[in-house]
Symmetry: C2
Subunit: 314 residues, 2 copies
Amino acid sequence: MGAASLVTGAPRTREREGEAGEEGLAAPAGLLPDADALGVYGRAADFEAIVEHLEAAIGGLDPVARPTQMRFPPVIARATIERCGYLHSFPHLLGTVFAFEGDDAAHAGLVAAAEAGQDWSGFQRMTDVALVPAACYAVYPRLAGRLPIDGRLIDVASWCFRQEPSEVPERMRSFRMREFVRLGPPEVVQAWRAGWLERAEAFVARLGLAPGLAPANDPFFGTGARFLARSQREQELKFELSVEVRPGVRVAAVSCNYHLEHFGAAFGITTPDGETAHTACVGFGLERLAVALIHAHGATLDAWPAHVRSNLST
Amino acid sequence: MGAASLVTGAPRTREREGEAGEEGLAAPAGLLPDADALGVYGRAADFEAIVEHLEAAIGGLDPVARPTQMRFPPVIARATIERCGYLHSFPHLLGTVFAFEGDDAAHAGLVAAAEAGQDWSGFQRMTDVALVPAACYAVYPRLAGRLPIDGRLIDVASWCFRQEPSEVPERMRSFRMREFVRLGPPEVVQAWRAGWLERAEAFVARLGLAPGLAPANDPFFGTGARFLARSQREQELKFELSVEVRPGVRVAAVSCNYHLEHFGAAFGITTPDGETAHTACVGFGLERLAVALIHAHGATLDAWPAHVRSNLST
């Protein structure tokens, strides 16, 4: 299985319906749009409170598990992105970090160009970091080597970035993803994912969000995209839970993925008997779930139905 | 006052002592370094617990105030960075976000270059967003216009980025900053900052970190840097609280800044009588405080002195 069949923790299959003709949509309650950057929002206190409750509830969904918690910054080594095949499959979504390296003369040129409203990108050089595309990517290089006999279970979260500027508030460029990642022998990883498919669907249903569970595919780039998407669906490597975020508009808010040995091979992660480890993940798009909850139950958390609040421990 | 005298919420004055000859330092307990990117760390559960307690304690330091809470993603409109003079003063610290825009042929070129280990930066174009350099920058454009008679008080936080790759764990490239920002007439803003200078110093002292309070300057770029730094110090626009993070090494962990009318003028923020608003901020470097706490009291929060824990409400 090559880089092209990479599947990620990211529930970002593009639903075309509902995308057209909706320029200038008002942001949902609690979101503070950036007037100069599409898909970049601040968060007011009420919105953050919903996200915090979601985080706590998601953390308690599997009370038997004892995951290792890892939290990551919004940037990641570019070498990791290159190693895991992201450039091959999703070049259009990646954000790379550039910076200035120069002397006073170059600085004067940069400032003059910027002040004249001209392109000053020529004064920037690519650095060794990129924006995190999916929370789980930062996990794999740190687990290179031999896993324990039971494999590993990681609880991970970070801010993620996707370069898809959009007017619609459910398609943010910068958003938070909470994931659980399982690494180990194939049968262990497969059983774990099967359990999470049920658990995640039941949770989203208890939130009153009427989830739709369906096989899905990642938004691969270019001429090979159709083939890769079909292959991913045929192997049932990706499932998504969709929720309604505006009248008649549903988007994926949870994604449950089986990567086969893709990441194990890319980062040298093996089982105790030396086989390449398999991996799977379940990823929760926290902003999308929050937007769906506000759409379903209103902007005031205290006024939500009691059964929804009890599932968020409010 | 021009763009060059910009002062930010960022406690990042460079202390040269302790920087040399310390390559290959081990990361403090709870930090997970990225092997391929200097100054990029994951956070284990114990480290995050300290940061969460710090956040809660900082939020309660001024119990009378009723700030408006805003939280921001790690990216910000590039237009905001251009408007506030950051390119003039700190071009070397800024991270800009680039992305791919191209067809299948360009994609093939990108992938071929990356797989050959060659420079593929030519396939990236500058986008309209940059990494957030200081949490408060995202506030000002959203408060353009006339302030209420009492001005505004904002409680803000975000991940910040500074392009200064370093082996030393207290100089992260990606870190969290919690800030309070006061906007209003000069005398209101000045009195507010004076209050926070005392409050922040007392808080850090109660944490057992023996803070050193001193006038400071931002790390301006280039030939004008010395003049700008001296001017900033003479006007006492910036104070920093330093803490010890390793034996004999102190760094700034809290910064208290008076911006005069810099941001008010740049973003058209006025008082009710039409005068340009003044602004000030106090910024807490959460990772630096956590590293200092671990250095002072050990890696296990539960084993810290009772008086320290009581100040973190643990």
